[in-house]
């Protein structure tokens, strides 16, 4: 017959195991997932701000860059790219503009999330400036031209001739009440 202390050993080890799996799910899996997507580039997520360095422009090659704007379901703004596509040489710095207008009667804050297709182009799409690095507060009825400056890395795989940069704009007014009050 086993005594109670050996039961307690199993109990304590199992509870520690269960708590460890809970912590693993909340604190390890999400960063691990982001890391995995970043390493493999499969999430289509682009990197943060890129500091321009001397890159030789590869004039022998042209890449078509297309722009797509999407409103998340609850977002009532007007949001679209001014030009829908541009042709660039890899290594060349290019500025393009998105237009956003708050059509509602209240002050709002938007946040654009970029995504690049095809997946294997995400790591070669370098943004030196992007409105997506910050959120965009717009007062009621206000509009704005939102700029992106990007460079296509000359190391872009030869198989890629077209790159699509997509922004989805989300309503995050409820999360940043401070900025809305600053607008007023």
């Amino acid at each position: 017959m086993a005594n109670y202390s050996s039961h307690r050993g199993v109990l304590i080890r199992s509870i520690i195991g269960a708590i460890a799996m809970f912590m693993f799910a909340i604190f390890v899996l999400p960063p691990l997932y982001d890391l995995f997507c970043e390493i493999t580039g499969i999430g289509g997520k682009t990197g943060g701000a890129y500091t321009a360095t001397e890159i030789t422009v590869d004039t022998s090659r042209q890449v078509e860059v297309q722009f797509v704007a999407t409103n998340n379901a609850t977002m009532p703004w007007d949001f679209y790219p001014v030009e829908h596509k541009v042709l660039v040489h890899p290594g060349e710095s290019k500025e393009i503009v998105f237009f956003a207008k708050n059509l509602t009667g209240k002050d709002m804050v938007g946040q654009a999330i970029p995504n690049v297709l095809p997946n294997n182009a995400a790591d070669y799409f370098l943004k030196t400036e992007c409105f997506c690095f910050n959120n965009q507060p717009l007062a009621a009825g206000e509009d704005a031209e939102l700029a992106v400056v990007f460079i296509i890395d000359p190391d872009l795989p030869a198989s890629v001739n077209t790159v699509t940069l997509s922004y989805t704009i989300f309503d995050i007014t409820d999360r940043v009440p401070v900025q809305v009050s600053q607008l007023q």
Binding site: S6, V10, F22, A73, F170
Partner: protein, 518 residues
């Protein structure tokens, strides 16, 4: 009656620490949930009897599909097998009770509260959960009804209950085996349950983590699954299926154990390939952790990922094939008789294998793009969940009920129930393969006219299957109340194992002195 159960009804059942009483509570609770989940299924099939909306609103239909899945998985199947484990594991390994009896009481008595919370949402403003039993974000976060918080707390309580039940089983099996009962002498039901218990301790906290992240996204402004704040809804699917795939083996492994007890009894032969059964069970449990993304082939994975998850999934067919081979070989040249538990077990082997084959079809990433989220998937998992887990649970009740209450069930009524259930099950779910392959998507309250005939057939089968369960309930109550008393310790002439050395009906306390196993 110092050593018997308390004579007061409330103190006996509310404060019980006896493994048999708690097992009984689990079994009755799970049967009540089975009838409730079944009632939800009847509403679904009644609405789908004809195209167009006849009986209920689409919003309510969504709540029905969600609640049917949640109640059946967490309320009916899992507690049913925990109930069987409570009843049988101490008797099978020669232990006087479970290792942690008061925790056993707690792990049962929080369950009714979990389901009261969950089911109560149906009567609240906004209705119950309507996002499918897989509760994918953002359907379950951004677009969920306000009652989603009740759902989250309900899942937390169910998870706590399962984890406590599992720890109890692990402690019992590790510490309380009778002298001479080595691990490789344990009955297979004990083996499959101890492996299941490890799976539960490993993955129920992941489910708790998933719903906790949902809770924080909904109420505390985090963005685990919300792209607006840098999160990713696909992450939810990964976390969910990291829990969800082991979960399907949590459901089926104890069913394997039950069938591995019953088939040798009625074949009058020892189980063929005992040790390969143990290793196959352990392999299935291990593989279940590394195949989760085969549920998500259509989210946009790289080819390498799809190939990996496809091949890893196909690998599971190997240990599963070993098990099916062993069951069939146990029956080969046996002196077979076909009592109700054996009929359900043979049907289990046949129909589970059929469900396994459709699983192989679904594991092919290229083909899954066509099958994904169609009725083909619904048919597949009902072949493994209903003909697998529910059939084996029914077999287990018929097999052990005479031992539990000392009375014999009505064999004719049992066989009648089997044949109705077997035929009705196939009438219900076989046509759903055709519907799925023809392109009918799951979880919709309406469908195109081309799907009308097979849906009507499927609904008729579902009503028959529901009727068979009422017959089951009647047979069990009739047995307990008015069954023919028996006192043969073995009950079945071919039965082997410690539980059959005990008197029939099993006394309230058994193996107070441990038996010696040679």
């Amino acid at each position: 009656m110092a050593h018997g159960p308390s004579q007061n009804f409330f103190s006996r059942w509310l404060f019980s620490t006896n493994h048999k009483d708690i097992g009984t509570l689990y079994l009755w609770f799970s049967f009540a949930m089975f009838l409730l989940g079944g009632a939800f299924a009847m509403i679904i099939r009644a609405e789908l009897f004809q195209p167009g909306m006849q009986l209920i609103q689409p919003e309510f239909f969504n709540q029905m599909t969600t609640m049917h899945g949640l109640v059946m998985v967490f309320g009916a199947i899992m507690p049913a097998f925990v109930g069987l484990a409570n009843w049988m594991i101490p008797m099978m390994i020669g232990a006087p009770d479970m290792a942690l009896p008061r925790m056993n009481n707690l792990s049962f008595w929080i369950l009714p509260f979990a389901f009261a919370i969950l089911v109560a949402t149906l009567f609240m403003e906004g209705g119950g959960p309507n996002f499918g039993w897989t509760f994918y974000a953002p359907l379950s976060t951004t677009y969920a009804p306000d009652t989603v918080n009740y759902f989250i707390f309900g899942v937390h309580i169910m998870g706590a209950s399962s984890i406590m039940g599992s720890i109890n089983i692990i402690a019992t099996v590790m510490n309380m085996r009778a002298p001479g009962m080595t691990y490789m002498k344990m009955p297979l039901f004990v083996w499959t349950w101890v492996i299941t218990a490890f799976l539960l301790v490993a993955v129920m906290p992941v489910l708790a983590g998933a719903v906790t992240m949902m809770l924080m996204d909904i109420n505390f402004g985090t963005s685990f699954f919300d792209a607006a704040g840098g999160g990713d809804p696909v992450l939810f699917q990964h976390v969910f299926w990291f829990f969800g795939h082991p979960e399907v083996y949590i459901i089926i492994l104890p069913a394997f154990g039950v069938v591995s007890q019953i088939i040798p009894t009625f074949s009058r032969k020892p189980l063929f390939g005992y040790s390969s059964m143990v290793y196959a069970t352990a392999s299935i449990a291990f593989l279940s952790f590394i195949v989760w993304a085969h549920h998500m082939f259509t989210v946009g994975m790289p080819i390498a990922g799809e190939l990996y998850f496809m091949y890893a999934t196909m690998l599971i067919a190997v240990p599963t094939g070993v098990k099916v081979f062993n069951w069939v070989t146990t029956m080969y040249k046996g002196a077979l008789t076909f009592e109700t538990p054996m009929l359900f077990s043979i049907a289990f082997v046949i129909l589970f294998t059929f469900g396994g084959f459709t699983g192989m079809m679904l594991s092919i990433a290229a083909a899954d793009t066509q099958y994904h989220d169609t009725y083909f998937v619904v048919a597949h998992f009902h072949y493994v969940m209903v003909a697998g887990a529910v059939f084996s649970g029914t077999a287990a009740v018929y097999y052990w009920l005479p031992k539990w209450c000392g009375k014999m069930y009505d064999e004719t009524m049992g066989k009648l129930q089997f044949w109705i259930a077997f035929i009705a099950f196939n009438i219900t779910f076989m046509p759903q393969h055709f519907l799925g392959l023809a392109g009918m998507p799951r979880r919709y309250s309406d469908y195109g006219l081309q799907f009308a005939d097979w849906n009507m057939v499927s609904s008729i089968g579902a009503f028959m299957y529901g009727g068979a369960q009422l017959l089951f309930l009647f047979n069990v109550i009739r047995t307990i109340g008015w069954g023919k008393p028996i006192d043969d310790p073995k009950v079945w002439e071919g039965a082997e194992g410690l539980e059959w050395t005990l008197p029939t009906p099993a006394p309230f306390h058994t193996f107070s002195t441990p038996p010696i196993v040679k």
